[in-house]
């Protein structure tokens, strides 16, 4: 066999490792191994490439090793440093980098022609230019979309010491803008096929793609963010596949389209967990632009001593964590509360995990795992909902829309969304800063029920007070 054949074999091995790795990532037991297989596949691909270049002669070692080392160090440093709560943002950012890398490769290939390399003709020209165009479109769009998504997940950005909230803004005419941008990008790609060395076209395309990424993510927020990040992840895979067409490389095509397709499926699975369709997520702004229901009702708050007294003798407590727990970082206090209850009152404590609680699917699991909560106590929504009627106290910490009984009705933005049946518990305790509406902009009847006790305040502060009250009893 010739050298090129061995290289192809190397890429085949790496593609097989990706496929098997992805497969295993979808199952709880094998997931860590799946991730390692994926990493191994990547190592094989990189080594094969470098070896091929070396044997062909003329490897630019300093530059290549330099680039690899710089990238690895930055990536590793970011991954090690990140807090548990910051992970969703980091995934979004990495994703943006991946898209940008594909788009940069496309730009670099095009620039060779602009700088005087021989321009191909016929079929190769068309294929190359269309692939350059699509890779740029998807890649740059992924970059700007992901960066905006990252700041949306963070909630805002500090500019000169001032906190600026990331806006969620999406009037319906913005959908027209999206379509217009998409059409102009297709026109630009078409034009560039006929005039490949005209750099105006590629600059215009980069501009249009960046704008498209921003207008696509701008109207989306809150519970829909994970879906968008997943969609962007799928897109960055597609960008890599298109790049594969430019340089005619099989492993890029296979791995890229695998990620593109599996990412899309994952996106659908996430949508389903929220009872939304992808089109709704993308084109119907969720609560963001609609006026929020004005609050007319009030509720008297309780204090921690009262709640502690009520908890005395409870046989079964279900903790319902939400976004508020992630924000106030009170998972350790929550775990302490569970331990206190078990010790002092011999109470059975479980956690009800809504699939989209927090800012990312699985967000609550990760936070609670960090606080050493045993995995067996974390129960998924479908399983735990039948246990609420037999539960003495449901302790809701910073969750709102995921417990709102309005979702059982046919009306309003929450209609049909599966919820945690916290309202069926004998007593409901809610730790929340105020009565304000959740992301969906719908008032929550759960707060006003007679059996509900509100602990108004920051999650960490209130749970700490509650723990102290229990200890003092």
């Amino acid at each position: 066999m010739e050298l090129g054949d061995w290289t192809s074999m190397g890429y085949l091995l790496s593609a097989a490792l990706f496929i098997y790795g992805l497969k295993q990532l979808g199952h709880p037991r094998t997931a860590p191994r799946g991730n390692q297989l994926g990493a191994m596949g990547m190592l094989v691909a990189v080594l094969t490439t470098i070896l091929d270049m070396h044997l062909e002669g003329g490897t630019q070692w300093t530059l290549i090793i330099g680039g690899l080392v710089i990238g690895s160090l930055i990536g590793y440093w970011m991954a090690v440093r990140v807090e548990m709560t910051g992970m969703p943002e980091l995934v979004a950012l990495f994703n943006g980098f991946g898209g940008a890398a594909s788009a940069l490769v496309a730009l670099s290939e095009l620039w060779k022609y602009i700088e005087g390399a021989e321009v191909p003709t016929g079929l190769k020209l068309s294929v190359t230019m269309v692939a350059v165009g699509l890779s740029s479109l998807v890649g740059w769009m992924t970059l700007t979309g992901s960066i905006l998504a990252m700041y949306k997940l963070k909630g805002g950005i500090t500019v000169f010491g001032k906190w600026i909230k990331t806006p969620t803004w999406g009037p319906s005419w913005l959908n027209g803008v999206k379509v217009l941008l998409l059409i102009s990008s297709v026109v630009l790609i078409y034009l560039s096929v006929n005039d490949p060395t005209n750099r105006q076209y590629i600059f215009a395309l980069i501009g249009v793609s960046c704008a498209l990424g921003i207008v696509l993510v701008l109207p989306i927020g809150g519970a829909d963010m994970p879906v968008v990040v997943s969609l962007l992840n799928s897109l960055s895979g597609i960008a890599a596949a298109f790049t594969g067409f430019i340089i005619n490389n099989s492993v890029l095509i296979v791995a890229g389209s695998l990620v593109g397709a599996s990412g899309l499926i994952l996106t659908f699975i996430m949508c389903k967990a929220m009872n939304r369709t992808l089109l709704d997520v993308l084109f119907k702004s969720f609560g963001g632009s609609g006026e929020k229901a004005s609050l007319t009702r009030t509720k008297v708050g309780s204090d921690s001593d009262e709640v502690a007294m009520m908890l005395d003798g409870a046989q079964k407590v279900i903790i319902v964590p939400g976004y508020g727990m992630a924000v106030s970082q009170c998972q350790h206090q929550v775990k302490e509360f569970a331990d206190l209850m078990a010790e002092k009152f011999d109470t059975e404590v479980k956690y009800a995990i809504h699939p989209v609680a927090g800012r990312m699917p699985g967000h609550m699991n990760v936070l609670l795992a960090e606080a050493n909560v045993p995995y067996e106590q974390l129960i998924e929504m479908d399983v735990i909902n039948s246990e609420f009627p037999n539960c003495d106290v449901a302790l809701v910490i910073g969750a709102n829309d995921t417990t709102n009984p309005a979702a059982r009705t046919d009306e309003g933005p929450l209609a049909g969304m599966p919820i945690i049946d916290a309202d069926l518990a004998r007593t409901v305790v809610i730790v929340k800063r105020s009565l304000s509406v959740g992301y969906a902009g719908v008032d929550n009847d759960l707060f006003y029920m007679d059996k509900t006790m509100m602990l108004f305040g920051d999650g960490k502060k209130m749970i700490t007070e509650l723990n102290n009250s229990i200890k003092d009893m």
Binding site: L22, N233, V251
Partner: protein
């Protein structure tokens, strides 16, 4: 590029997309984020394109800007790859590792 080559690449593309659809079926919510993050790291495969691109560009010498672009692509793709796999690993250790140890 010959038509055969293009058809070969298109075949790979379409079949891989179908394979990707089939690979992911039922995934528990806990694994959504790690799966996304792991797949994201794999999409850093453009590292291969970036490496080839920067090598070719610098070799021929007269395509400097093209080389610089590809070099940046190497750095960005590598951040995506190493960071992506590392962060996925960290997440999975939190979720799945505990399951084994704590049981």
């Amino acid at each position: 590029m010959t038509p055969e080559l293009l058809i070969g690449s298109l075949t790979l593309f379409v079949l891989s997309i179908f394979l990707g659809f089939e690979l992911i079926t039922k995934v528990p919510a806990t694994l959504h984020t790690p799966l996304m993050s792991g797949a994201n790291a794999i999409s850093g495969i453009s590292i291969v394109g970036a490496l080839i691109g920067s090598n070719v560009a610098f070799e021929s010498g007269d395509t400097a800007i093209s080389g610089v672009l590809a070099f940046f692509a190497v750095v960005l793709a590598m951040i995506n790859v190493v960071g992506g796999f590392a962060v996925t690993n960290k997440m999975l250790n939190m979720i799945a590792g505990r399951k084994r140890g704590g049981a």
